[in-house]
Amino acid sequence: MTTSSSLQPQGVRLEVRGVDKRYGARNVLKKTELVIEPGEFVAIVGRSGCGKSTLLRLVTGLESVSGGAIRIDGDPVDGLSSSTRIMFQDARLLPWKRVQDNVALGLPPAQRGAAADVLARVGLGDRLGEWPARLSGGQRQRVALARALVHNPRLLLLDEPLGALDALTRIEMHRLIEGLWRQSGFTALLVTHDVQEAVALADRVILIEDGQIALDLRIDLPRPRVHGEAAFAQLEKRILDRVLQKPDVEATPEPTWPGVPAHGLRWAV
């Protein structure tokens, strides 16, 4: 990175005030209240369909609230913002662009060198000219992380970015994400279904249940955190017990997002 960490913009303050989100008759979020301080790392856990991904999409500006308001540094979120970057569960790399061009997506051509710098920071400095198809799952997510960080975001949103990776690669990625977050000072909001991941990374773990915040727990463990430690395991168990307390009454799938319909057909004549 060309800018030193002292020049890095500070993280944003995120306020979620009385937010409702409805899809038809279904109330996904109900009067949700949440404040995240600048530079804080917050993890949201919950069962699938609880509304945690929806909250993330609202913060990104990909969708708009049905009621209430989301404010970033006091300004209401209205559409996509250049200081917010999101990392998706699947890396969503463009398969027809080489690694460096993927990271440089949306950057002015003059700043292409910054892409190489960030790739070096995530440990892929020697794979700049590789096609994404040649990378492993963990490497792809590291490219996606570099692509998010190259814009110096003040708010980084992580939508279960490590869900598809194996256990060892996940631990590696936790260290990488934690290290980059501490260097850059952005505000981070992680959505995950893995309680261990939440405890390993976050300052605060928030549990969403039925569209409402059911638990807001501060994690005061020193960093870097060790998975096997007693205090770590205790916190993990406490959150997990709370998650499992409520029986899985409805296994409703996450709402499908409106998008371009994908036909599996290809016509010749």
């Binding site: 970057r85 998706f88 027809w96 997506l105 949306g106 057909l265 010749a268 004549v269």
Partner: protein, 287 residues
Amino acid sequence: MTQTIRELQVSPLADAVDLPIEGPLLPAPVVRFARHIAQRLLPWAVPVGLIVLWQIASSQGWLSTRVLPAPLEVVKAAWTLAASGELWTHVKVSAGRALAGLAIGGGLGLLLGLLTGSIKLFETLLDSTIQMVRNIPALALIPLVILWFGIDESAKLFLISVSVFFPIYLNTFHGIRNVDPGLIEMGRTYGLGRWQLYKQIILPGALSSILVGLRFSLGLMWVILIVAETISAQAGIGYLTMNAREFLQTDIVLVGILLYALLGKLADVFAKGLERYWLRWHPGYQA
């Protein structure tokens, strides 16, 4: 000549049969090499054998030259035509027609496919009409085309354009519709504008499908060209063969047929080359 070809053909077969018996006498790499050669040559045994058989049947007089001329006669006819320059003029005229038709029909197909694939209004406006017209075989239009354009160049161009239009249109349309919505969403969150989104995500995502359409179109292009040139022409490969037919020059007719095959193959190789270059990011095209 015939003799040598036959010997070439027979020897690998003989090796393959003999070697297991002689195996212990020969060093292993030699055996493996001979097997490898046999494996490579074996697929050619049937076509070469057939040509040899055909040549023998012709030279022995079992096969009338009015039915099929000897392969050597065909080669000779091709040589004379090439030497006089006649061959190249006809090839040039035919290839020019085919490519002009492809440029017009394919260009329109690409343009309309991009429009209907990207803009909802154009899809509702045009797609169902195009889907209806698609079901009319281009060749069924011949009587109408002759009435409209007579039997000159524009009739041939029209037929080729109409037939190459649909594969490119349909595959462009579906290629654009099949672009992963997740990638488009990602592009939007990374601040790409409409044009950048189109250039960097939608078009490259649709490209493999568009190229499939191009390959179908190239195949169809030659079929329609042959029919169009056979109906009436003053130059071109079709004219060459129809003219030769009147004079019972079966060797020239065969040269024409082989030329069509060669041009078709060339077009396919070209399309494959495009695929290999543009889709080089795809694991299927990487060595």
